[in-house]
């Protein structure tokens, strides 16, 4: 879990997948499917949104002192 949160691509991939998964779950749960799908979709949406700020608060990377923050000299 900690390793996942320390990998930028890792935690963003999880967040991305959860956002996408929430869509059919909420749609089905709110219309024709069992209500549990609606709450499962809502939970997926919440967790997807929580991951990026949660990661910042726990594992915020310190900026490289040699790098200009606005990136005008990058690339």
């Amino acid at each position: 879990m900690v390793a996942l949160l320390k990998s930028r691509l890792g935690y963003l991939s999880v967040s991305f997948c959860l956002f996408l998964v929430s869509l059919p779950l909420v749609s089905a749960g709110a219309t024709s499917g069992p209500r549990v799908l609606l709450w499962a979709g809502s939970a997926a949406l919440c967790i997807a949104g929580l991951i990026p700020p949660f990661q910042r608060l726990l594992f915020a990377a310190k900026p490289d002192p040699g790098t200009k923050v606005d990136g005008e000299n990058s690339r």
Partner: protein, 543 residues
């Protein structure tokens, strides 16, 4: 029960936008972190202040994810094309070809960043001009921050009538106006949008080289702005659907004779300070011969233009491809204040084959196949003595970080919309502003709509009917206020987070969205103020 419009509710409705801007610009959080935080601020305000039940929040959130898919369908193919070009040496070949267009660096930047981006907006949309042009400018040696800011600002004038009139047609769907008012709205929208064309052109030139660049390029800017801005007004009177496409194409065609003008054919020696340009780019790659010729490097952009034009302008093909649509069902949802979103069997149906993403996917796959068959990837890897990461991995590595904030922004926008926060924002501005002050501020409502939804069309769909109603109540000309809304919807795109994220990802500077916003925010404020003043002037003239 009426939605409350008082200072407390207005301030709290504005809170998600304020927090988002503060996190991005001031605290320099990444777009992923700021956007996701914005979801929870908007949800908390919706739940505790705007009496929005959890089910409504869930449905709104899911609709936001669906809305984001329309943008992701451009980002993923655009980034695929970027990886294909980048890993095959295509951008280096392209840079050499672009340099041959003119020896004048500023002319090339105007041609690519302003004229070509606007042309793409005339036929495509959903951020395609930014996604395509930003990496081209980087390849030419423009600093990535500027490479994103330039096309974002420069193509704004083509937003409302662009994508073959999508914004215009969507606006007509949500307002009930007579023929004369519709014609007046088209004409006055065109007039207000001239500000965006002129201001956009001069801003691009200013970014490149400050006052010396302005002194050098002012005739060029005025000619192109006149072709685009005045051309749009004239065509809007005949057929608004083509009002952006025809002048954007005329400006593209005008580049050739303009490139022969000695003033723009030779380098501008008097422009010393060039903050938008990288100093080392040309020297770095001077000994690296790209594996393909210029024609082959331009191939994907020619193919993209042909496909986009074909699927947009050949009516039988457009109708056949557009007949395939799908969307997900959602139930009716309400809030405690009686804000109702009706049930639908297919919410905002997507036509995948006429979506700009389809042209981009075909372009990318065909280009990928040709470049692979010709061995460009291996040759370029040997030339640069680097081990390429592979197109698929490169796509995954860049597209996922770009997708999360777009999903977050659109979810936040849907939450604000379903809970009535957007409506409170617009009604609040109207409630405190006398008629002329409201006329001045009315384009600001469009700006807010575009900022929250990252779409000028969505801004117009959200607010056009409300703006017309408020105009009637305040005794203002409906066409003028609708024109101000349409102009504001375009202006807000310059700071729309999804656009900024898209540009940052294709320019290879994901995470530096705040720095891009600091470049586009002053333009947005200036355009808002000038449009406000012009709206008041139009009201005075019409009355």
């Amino acid at each position: 029960m009426q939605i409350p419009v008082d200072f407390l509710h207005w301030s709290l409705a504005f809170l998600p936008i304020l927090v988002l801007a503060f996190l991005l610009v001031q605290l320099r959080w990444t777009a992923q972190q700021a956007g996701a935080t914005g979801i929870f601020i908007a949800a908390a305000v919706a739940f505790f202040v705007f009496r929005t039940p959890l089910e409504t929040l869930a449905v709104a959130g899911a609709k936001g994810v669906w809305d984001a898919l329309f943008i992701l369908l451009v980002i993923w193919p655009a980034l695929l094309l970027y990886q294909i070009m980048h890993q095959s040496g295509g951008y280096d070949a392209l840079r050499q070809g672009i340099t041959r267009l003119s020896r004048n660096e500023l002319f090339v930047i105007i041609a690519l960043g302003w004229v070509f981006a606007s042309f793409l907006q005339g036929i495509d949309g959903f951020g395609t001009p930014i996604a395509v042009v930003a990496p081209l400018l980087v390849a030419f040696g423009v600093r990535p921050i500027y490479a994103v800011a330039i096309p974002i600002i420069a193509h704004i004038w083509a937003k409302f009538f662009g994508t073959l009139g999508v914004g215009w047609l969507a606006t007509l769907q949500v307002v009930d106006l007579d023929e004369a008012t519709i014609l007046a709205a088209a004409y006055q929208s065109g007039l207000l949008i001239i500000i965006q064309a002129v201001l956009g052109g001069f801003t691009v030139v200013w970014m490149y080289g400050r006052w010396p660049a302005i002194r050098h390029a002012w005739p060029l800017v005025l000619i192109i702005a006149a072709l685009q801005g005045v051309g749009q007004v004239l065509v809007a009177l005949v057929d608004p659907v083509l009002a952006a496409f025809i002048p954007a194409t005329a400006a593209m065609l005008a580049l050739y004779p303009l490139s022969l003008w000695p003033r723009y054919a030779e380098p501008a020696t008097d422009i010393v300070e060039r903050p938008a340009m990288l100093e080392s780019r040309a020297e770095d790659d001077v000994d690296k011969a790209p594996p393909m010729g210029v024609a082959m490097s331009f191939f994907p952009y020619i193919l993209l233009t042909v496909l986009a034009l074909g699927t947009s302008m050949i009516e039988p093909l457009k109708n056949a491809l557009g007949s395939i649509t799908f969307g997900l069902p959602f139930p009716e949802v309400t809030t405690g204040y009686g804000n109702v979103n009706p049930a639908t069997d297919a919410y905002s149906p997507l036509a995948p084959l006429t979506h700009p993403g389809a042209s981009l996917i075909i372009t990318a796959l065909v280009t990928w196949g040709i470049y692979q068959a010709r061995g460009y990837y291996n040759t370029w890897a040997e030339t640069t003595k680097t081990r390429q990461k592979g197109v698929c991995w490169g796509l995954f590595e860049s597209a996922v970080p770009a997708s999360v904030p777009i999903l977050a922004f659109l979810v936040m926008a849907a939450l604000m919309n379903h809970s009535g926060q957007n409506e409170t924002l617009a009604l609040g501005i109207s409630a405190i502003a006398p008629a002329y002050a409201f006329a001045f501020l009315s384009n600001g409502i469009g700006v807010i709509g575009a900022f929250t939804t990252s779409s000028s069309t969505s801004s117009n769909v959200l607010f056009s009917d409300l703006q017309v109603t408020l105009a009637r109540l305040k005794g203002l000309p409906e066409a003028t206020i609708l024109a101000a809304q349409s102009a504001g919807g375009g202006i807000g795109n310059a700071i729309a987070p999804a656009n900024v994220v898209m540009g940052a990802s294709t320019a290879g500077i994901s995470g530096q969205e705040g720095a891009i916003l600091r470049k586009t925010l002053p333009w947005t404020l200036a355009a808002f103020l000038l449009t406000g003043a012009a709206t008041v002037l139009l009201v005075l003239l019409v009355n």
